[in-house]
């Protein structure tokens, strides 16, 4: 973060973002490294650390800042006074709600942590898609990019899935010296914990209202399916969490036209692709469409490109593409890895669209308790926007929803609606993204 963004981000936000960015840098480094050198272990990690530290000192030497200024960004500087003042200013009803939300969130986080550390991976998909690959990389000491397709992960791992999370797990196993699934599975919990904290921080920063700021973390934790997806090893929730960060920093860029935020948003977009194939097909396109539509409607497209085309921005974006994206696309192209092979497996119905998926809508959204009463929030969020208020966040969410529906409607993935093996968790991520920004959307609407 210091190398690319200097002292721009500080305090709690820096720590939270650093978890995701650091994890992404390490795993992308190992991914790219395997193209040239075989090896995933703590020694390569320390080598990377040395390179990063050297790079930072080179930047320090060339910049005007002293190291103290960088270290000052590490101060947490958590002041409870604004929170306390906001709480005391609430009505009695809102105070009761706020305390209740806080209590529920804490209990949820504790319960999900206990669940996470008590059981190993159970579901076959999470084992086959992400855990088995990590086991193979740990025992082999790396993965072979060149060779047969089976050798990418070898012996059962599903090669067409992104392996960044698997690389992280293999590395954790290497550091601990043994394979212990519970350590490896903590990735999801830690990411979720930081995201919940993040939604509160960004909401309070914007609204200065503790009641409104607690709503996003409360709504996220109130979605029943989320509890199981923190613990079951699937990457749908992780895709949703990375999307939250991508959308937020692009939203911040659109509010303040600060290109550091745009670059960080782009970085999270690149990391998002490393979580699950859906990111490349659904989440990222949805966010990009939302971004373009917002610029178009605000007539800011030319200003955007004018500001983007500076040496600093182009360098950073170029690095993101070369370091995070190029190796992935190279390996995919080299081995002809499909994005969605399971959907075509045994596909027999050639109809070009499948309207029958809509007959399951009441099951998925109302009868089953996947999402709590989430549909009640949608009018609250969209009310007032029909008059033309523009919201990048809502555009992105709408496009993500729309792309998911299109994928289920027009491709053989419709089968996963009929047997409800994918559709429920796909929309869970969409709802997590939507409610994460509840406070921001609500306050934007009020400021109209």
């Amino acid at each position: 973060m210091w190398i690319f963004f200097g002292t721009k981000y500080k305090g709690l936000l820096l720590y939270i973002v650093s978890w995701f960015v650091g994890l992404g840098v390490v795993t992308a480094f190992f991914y790219a490294l395997q193209i040239f050198v075989f090896g995933i272990s703590k020694w390569e990690y320390f080598m990377l650390l040395v390179v990063l530290i050297l790079s930072f000192f080179i930047k320090l030497f060339l910049s005007k800042y002293s190291i103290k200024k960088y270290f000052s960004t590490l101060c947490l500087d958590i002041s409870f006074s604004p929170i306390r003042e906001s709480f005391l200013a609430l009505s009695r009803v809102k105070k009761i709600f706020s305390l209740t939300f806080f209590g529920y969130i804490l209990v949820f986080l504790l319960l999900s942590l206990l669940y996470n550390i008590s059981f190993p991976t159970y579901f076959d998909d999470s084992f086959g898609n992400w855990t088995l690959g990590a086991i193979n990389m740990y025992f082999d000491g790396g993965y072979r990019v060149f060779g047969s397709e089976d050798e990418i992960l070898g012996k059962g791992g599903r090669t067409n899935y992104p392996i960044f999370v698997s690389i992280f797990r293999a590395l954790v196993a290497d550091f601990s010296g043994f394979w212990y699934e519970i350590y490896q599975n903590l990735f999801q919990y830690v990411s979720f914990f930081f995201t919940v904290m993040f939604t509160f921080v960004i909401s309070f920063k914007k609204t200065k209202d503790i009641f409104v700021s607690l709503l996003p973390p409360f709504f996220i934790t109130s979605i029943p399916l989320v509890f199981f997806h923190i613990t079951d090893g699937y990457m749908d929730l992780a895709s949703g969490l990375y999307s939250v960060f991508t959308i937020y920093f692009l939203y911040r860029f659109l509010s303040k036209k600060n290109y550091e935020n745009f670059v960080l948003g782009a970085l999270f977009g690149a990391l998002l692709i490393g979580t699950k194939n859906d990111a490349l097909v659904v989440y990222l396109p949805g966010i990009v469409f939302g971004f373009i539509i917002y610029l178009f409607l605000n007539k800011e497209i030319s200003d955007f490109f004018r500001g983007l085309c500076t040496r600093n921005n182009i360098t950073r974006l170029g690095f993101i593409v070369l370091f995070f994206l190029a190796p992935q696309f190279f390996v995919r192209f080299y081995h002809g890895l499909a994005l969605n092979p399971q959907a075509n497996d045994g596909f027999e119905n050639p109809a070009w669209w499948h309207l029958e998926i809509f007959t399951y809508a009441d099951d998925i959204f109302i009868l089953e308790n996947n999402y709590n009463l989430i549909l009640l929030l949608i009018p609250l969020l969209f009310l007032g926007f029909w008059k033309g208020k523009k919201s990048f966040i809502l555009y992105s969410v709408i496009f993500i929803f729309a792309i998911f529906i299109a994928v289920f409607l027009f491709t053989s993935n419709y089968r996963w609606v009929l047997d409800q093996t994918t559709v429920n968790r796909a929309f869970m991520s969409c709802f997590v993204i939507l409610v994460s920004f509840f406070a921001l959307i609500y306050s934007d609407k009020k400021q109209k």
């Binding site: 009803v93 709600f97 209740t100 529920y104 209990v107 949820f108 319960l111 999900s112 206990l114 669940y115 008590s118 059981f119 159970y122 579901f123 076959d124 998909d125 084992f127 086959g128 088995l132 193979n136 025992f139 070898g154 012996k155 059962g156 409360f218 709504f219 934790t221 109130s222 029943p224 399916l225 509890f227 199981f228 997806h229 079951d232 699937y234 399951y360 099951d363 109302i366 009868l367 089953e368 308790n369 996947n370 709590n372 009463l373 549909l375 009640l376 929030l377 609250l380 047997d419 409800q420 093996t421 559709v423 429920n424 968790r425």
Partner: protein, 326 residues
């Protein structure tokens, strides 16, 4: 409409169904829900329409050997809800409610609830009744219903029910009614509607916390038991059988099993999760094959050895499950 139906069910819940259709028995008499029967191989009792009878009570002693299965007849297939193994003597005192088994997607209306006996069994006083559960039972079962323990907890497909209706569906109806009232009485004040929304969310979340806590507790209780006692996700002796099978197949013989090359053919009492988890997790790297002639081993989970496999060597047998050498 469904609410009216629920009220109707509540009223008739005081009445019980007495007589049942029985097939395949060499002897079957029933009087005031107490049956005397003898079954030589496969027999069945029709307990009535599944949607009207959401509570089944079974009691008494069954002697013999075989399996007693409670299920729902859909076409010519029985969707098994509960199995009871009879080994010489089985003493039953079961009060089985069907609330959690309403898989919304697809059991057709009018499907029949059946009790199937597979094996040679008899009983002098076998209590069997099916009826609509009472009001209090509905409430207590709703509170105790725990969708988190279903095998499908990656997608919560069962859903807690109250009087046969999805409880989230009931809350949506409650919201519409009360939101309309608040809007009219509050002259368009939307803040009260927000509070109502939050209260309903909190209600669902309270039930969820209870469910999650129970899921965690029961999971820990069963997961850390010995393999023979494990019932995590209600797998019965599946883990213990799988553990023994892995030893016999040689999967556990080496420290890194990825060099093993073997194949197996499997049949299970239900594909999910038993055969499915064998294929995807527990018997890897052995490969599953659909052709029994090509397989090195044949696995049968809670299935009798068919005639075509009778000549094969039994490497391991356990409570009606078998591992055969091809």
């Amino acid at each position: 409409m469904k609410l009216l139906f629920a009220v109707f069910l509540f009223i008739i819940s005081f009445f019980r169904v007495d007589a049942f259709d029985a097939q395949g028995f060499t002897l079957f008499t029933i009087d005031q829900n107490i049956a005397t029967f003898e079954c030589a191989s496969t027999c069945a009792i029709n307990l009535g329409d599944y949607t009207n009878n959401d509570q089944v009570q079974l009691s008494g002693e069954v002697v013999g050997n075989g399996t007693l299965s409670l299920g729902i007849l859909v076409g010519t297939n029985v969707n098994v809800l509960q199995n009871y193994n009879v080994q010489e003597l089985l003493i039953l005192d079961e009060n089985y409610t069907l609330f959690n088994k309403n898989f919304y997607a697809r059991i057709p209306e009018g499907a029949q609830l059946v009790l199937v006996f597979s094996g040679q069994m008899s009983s002098q006083e076998f209590g069997v009744s099916s009826h609509t559960a009472g009001f209090i039972t509905h409430i207590t079962e709703f509170i105790q219903s725990n969708e988190g323990l279903t095998p499908y907890s990656i997608n919560l497909r069962y859903g807690s029910q109250l009087f046969g209706m999805s409880w989230t569906q009931i809350l949506y109806i409650v919201f519409i009614v009360f939101a309309a009232l608040l809007f009219l009485l509050g002259k368009g004040n939307k803040q009260n509607i927000l509070y109502l929304t939050l209260v309903l969310f909190l209600l669902v979340m309270t039930k969820n916390m209870y469910d999650f806590g129970r899921t965690y507790y029961e999971g820990v209780q069963s997961y850390h038991l010995s393999d023979t006692q494990k019932t995590f996700h209600h797998m019965g002796d599946y883990y213990d059988f799988t553990h023994n099978v892995r030893e016999k197949m040689g999967i556990d013989d080496v420290s890194d099993p990825r060099g093993i090359n073997c194949s197996y053919y499997s049949e299970c009492q239900s594909h999910w999760p038993f055969c499915y988890n064998w294929r995807t997790i527990f018997l890897q790297p052995c490969q599953n094959t659909k052709d029994p002639n090509e397989a090195d081993f044949i696995l049968l989970h809670k299935k009798e050895i068919p005639a075509s496999f009778q000549s094969k060597e039994v490497l391991h047998s356990q409570n009606g499950s078998y591992l055969l050498k091809n």
